[in-house]
Symmetry: C2
């Protein structure tokens, strides 16, 4: 049964597609091959969960969507850059993403490295060039996003993930890695609304933080579960790519059922954080359930 | 005979080393290996020509050096990131840089990719967190630097460079590629002073642009000449790494002597741009000569 936010999903995904389409150089702009690779990596029918979280957070804080466009765009560009590099032979060495050849397979390795490299400055441009936010708000967004994708955020998490292959981690260590690898950018998607809010009470900020921290980790655990279940259902093999790569994952280390329980616990904790917002947080609640229940 | 700016060189290189040292996470901050690789790639005894150009441009426009620190730091971090990725097996496949193992040789390929990835957001953080510039000036710097290192700047130039191997380009096409690959970041180093200047006449801006555009191309041609001459003098081989990789270079396509003449012509053109500044441009003049005359 569609909730009001579910009914607006398509509007928002069209909105972010539009923003991405507009900021990405056209394929006939030189260097054409590089721009083709950038567009291929971004305009690929992704679920756009991070932009949706940004728009839902903006609704929660009564912010006009055009003031969150630049952050939503930047974060999706950063997410795309990270996927291109994660897929490289020196990293996860994946040939397919969403059923299509990965960028280094479709183009070549050098082009994949450079295309992703060029998505990062494009992301920061999106924020610095936005006229719907004040320069102070843009600077706040850039600090937030830069921290989220740097060595103490997403990129650091990916580095820890690679060095954890074949190792046994405690649940706390594992979730610390998830908080960086996946959680940091999801956290930034949500907290970007706080940067452009005219005012925000301490209680509201803490509530949003609690939601952001918990749902980011839940997102990754759900990904791990899908990596196992998806393979089992679709190609009849019990092991997904995480197991083949001997990755440290929640269900891999502690079992599928405990992973599902942990996911629900995190969902509940994230929803609890939204109490102070009442009805306005409905979109964020809807997205939290979507993240934990999704089948892809 | 040391000119006044030459006497301040050491002061400025110590200043930028200090800025870089302070912004880079320590090696004992997790993930330690990633941070070690980031520090290794940046704190490597580079010549710091881009920061020097930024400080000299600040002197030219009567700007306090502390207002250009963040741009100088960001640009040197971006430069370091680009070298790490350029050296990767999928790109130039270099084992040594400045006589030391390249980052992917010293660490591993995944760490090299990620360390460089993390230098980019650190660069934008440096600017966005700076309190010596106004939020408007920070946004101007971020737009400038993001454009310089993106697909229509440095990264685009590197992409064209790779696809030009073995091809014959006209001098104009070659210099267009140099303007992106090398010129864009040098241009940003110089024009960053214009972002933080309180006011700037159109004449001054055009003069600085002329200097910036010409010296960036001269810098790359000098690099090409050194790649040939350096090898010849030091290990007695007539061919440098550019020739081995069949790179399109100025001396390679048009000869060493014409390359030297073109370099001098660009030097003269860059110096002519500084006429409106009188004595205040002495540091930039000195650096232009240094760039064209340097032996490494």
């Amino acid at each position: 049964m569609p909730t009001p936010f579910a009914a607006r999903l398509q509007e928002y995904t069209a909105r972010i597609s539009d923003c991405l389409e507009r900021i990405l150089p056209a394929e006939d702009v030189l260097p054409a091959r590089l721009h083709a690779a950038m567009r291929y990596s971004v305009l690929n029918g992704g679920k756009r969960i991070r932009p949706l979280l940004a728009y839902a957070s903006a609704e929660c804080l009564n912010i006009d969507p055009q003031r969150i466009d630049s952050a939503a765009t930047a974060i999706e560009l950063i997410h795309a850059f990270s996927l291109v590099h994660d897929d490289l032979p020196a990293m996860d060495d994946d040939d397919l993403r969403r059923g299509k050849p990965t960028v280094h397979r479709k183009f070549d390795e050098a082009t994949a490295i450079l295309a992703a490299d060029a998505l990062q400055p494009l992301a920061f441009s999106a924020v610095a060039e936005c006229t719907a936010t004040t320069p102070e708000q843009s600077a706040c967004l850039i600090r937030l996003i830069a921290h989220a994708c740097g060595s103490r955020g997403m990129t650091g998490g990916q580095s820890i993930d690679l060095s954890s292959e074949g190792k046994t981690l405690s649940a706390a260590e594992l979730e610390q890695m998830y908080a960086l690898k996946t959680g940091a950018l999801i956290h930034a998607s949500i907290m970007s609304a706080a940067c452009v809010a005219d005012e925000l009470t301490g209680t509201d900020r803490r509530g949003l933080q609690q939601y952001a921290d918990s749902i980011g980790i839940a997102f990754q655990i759900r990904d791990d579960i899908l990596d196992i279940e998806g393979e089992t259902l679709i190609i009849g093999k019990p092991a997904g790519s995480d197991i083949r790569q001997d990755k440290a994952t929640w269900p891999g280390l502690f079992g599928l059922e405990p992973a599902r329980e942990r996911c629900d616990e995190l969902l509940q904790h994230s929803i609890n954080g939204l109490e102070c917002f009442g009805e306005r947080a409905e979109p964020l609640r809807w997205l939290a359930h979507y993240i934990v229940d999704r089948e892809q």
